[in-house]
Amino acid sequence: MSDLFNPTDEHRQLREMVRAFAEREVEVQAHEFDKKEAFNHALFLKLGELGLLGITVHPEFGGSGMDATAATIVHEELSAVDPGFTLAYLAHSMLFVNNLAVNGTPEQCARFLPRSCTGDLIGGMGMSEPGAGTDVLGMRTTAVRDGDHYVINGAKMWITNGCINDTELGDVFLIYARTGDHAADLSSFIIEKGTPGFSLGQRIKDKLGMRASPTAELVFEDCRVPAANRVGDEGKATLCMMRNLEIERVTLAAMSLGIARRCIEIMNAYASDRKAFGQPINRFGQIQRHIADSYGEFMAGRSYVYHTSNALRLESAGNRLDSDGVKLYCSTMAKNVADRAIQVLGGYGYVGEYTVERLWRDAKLLEIGGGTIEAHQKNMTRDLSRLPRIL
């Protein structure tokens, strides 16, 4: 029994397990943690017990040793009930854990991954800065070698899991910094909470959506990091960054899928029940268009995402066209589907109780985080210009 979305029995069982967990334990807290803008640490630890935090990590380092499609499945299923919480999961498991597992030395992996796979450490990744987002190679944070250390100066902005509440930093981060004069002279470093010179600049509050994932500005002032914490060769981090952006974008697209699927289920059920002018509103052509268009677009996106994840090898780069493509298509698709869901529910859609209001707010982030849709259009067109024929 295998299909595009569940290529093996293990994938299917994984989906069933995560869906059951999401419906029983994640759904119930989603509204509350969104309202109070809080990270649910206890729930996060349960993901560790289920083996989800180190989903792509080799069992030797405490992980589950699964592939890109397994990660895609988990993000789709969790996001169908709580995208905010899922974003915190993604920042930890994809941006920190998977990144280190693919690019770190065995010593670095042994030092940090086992505790990250259980959730004892909460991780994140810092690429964006106050002054450089899309133009990531314009980053200004610097790392200067000084004996056995690097001295880091600068700031990182919008870092998911940068803090876990208003005042406390997350535990460990992969931070990109400039180690040379050329635009691409970047290196990455493991930086732990408690390193002298590393502090929480601010917790970023009042986000439109994704409120269950904490976001922070991180500040580095003469922060001394042991040279042993450099991941990969000096000046060679751009490739690591590009490679990890691929799985990041595919899993962000998977989050859009979860949002879209849930919105379709909600509007479909509502439109069969709700009556107006003496009949269920799903008898009206305009409502039918909202529902049918949404389903068609969702399935197109879903097929594209799994087609891409099934081919994605975590250790290699070179899938940028489609890893950008799935996120470009699915982020806007899910935003539109959420919008239609609100429309189908009328006034009820506009309030929190019916969930689509929250999903609509969360959906918007996916057009920005992990690369804006304009960045995807830029990257894809550049890649396509070198591809005269589409096979």
Partner: protein
Amino acid sequence: MKILVTAKRVVDPDSKIQIADTQTSIELDDVDFRVNYFCENAIEAALELQDEHDAEVVVCSIGNEDAIQTIRTGLAMGGDRGILVEAEDEVLDGDLVARTLAKLYEQEKPDIFLLGKQAIDGDSNQVGQLLAEYLSLPQACFASNIDIIEDGAVARVEREVDGGIETIDVDLPCIITADLRLNEPRYASLPGIMKAKRKKIEEFELDDLELDTTLKVVTRSMELPAGRQAGVMVSDVDELVNKLKSEAKVL
């Protein structure tokens, strides 16, 4: 200690059920399947005993070849190995299921045979009791707590009965059926799912077991429950009280 535990594959109760054209079974094409809830409780109980008493847990199911997935779920939760008896639902009734399980008992000689108290599809609530009868073993049905005492010779079982809890002792080997409040079933963790791939599942055909397969119960027809009647709006409390008295006759 060895525990044999059942994992029946049933239609997910959240699926939309439709009756097949024959009117004697339900349409299985567009529905989801899952492990019977009560079987999940039985598996959880078996796994807790596995931890405490170093028991071997054997997960068994009777069903078509897809029931192997239900067994895998049990193995992913922590079961040690599995047994599938292949048979389509149409050729089974509760009695034949009990006699089939009795064969597995003879083959495995477990100390405890754990089952769900009933399956959430057929709701018959017969198999555990019939099995105990066929094997002449003590039974403890609707268990809400299980303790193994006297060095593994006796199971002390709390049963939910009308109006309270009854505590009984049954000698091992015995049959125990699980109620929902027995425990909170664990999830199959991801490492568990990966490990389950390598665990052994023995497969039999129903015919291999040399049973009399004549059914004692035959399904004649099925129909969906009548749709719910629309509610009525009342204009004030007096009207409500009136209706409760005269129409609903509850006051």
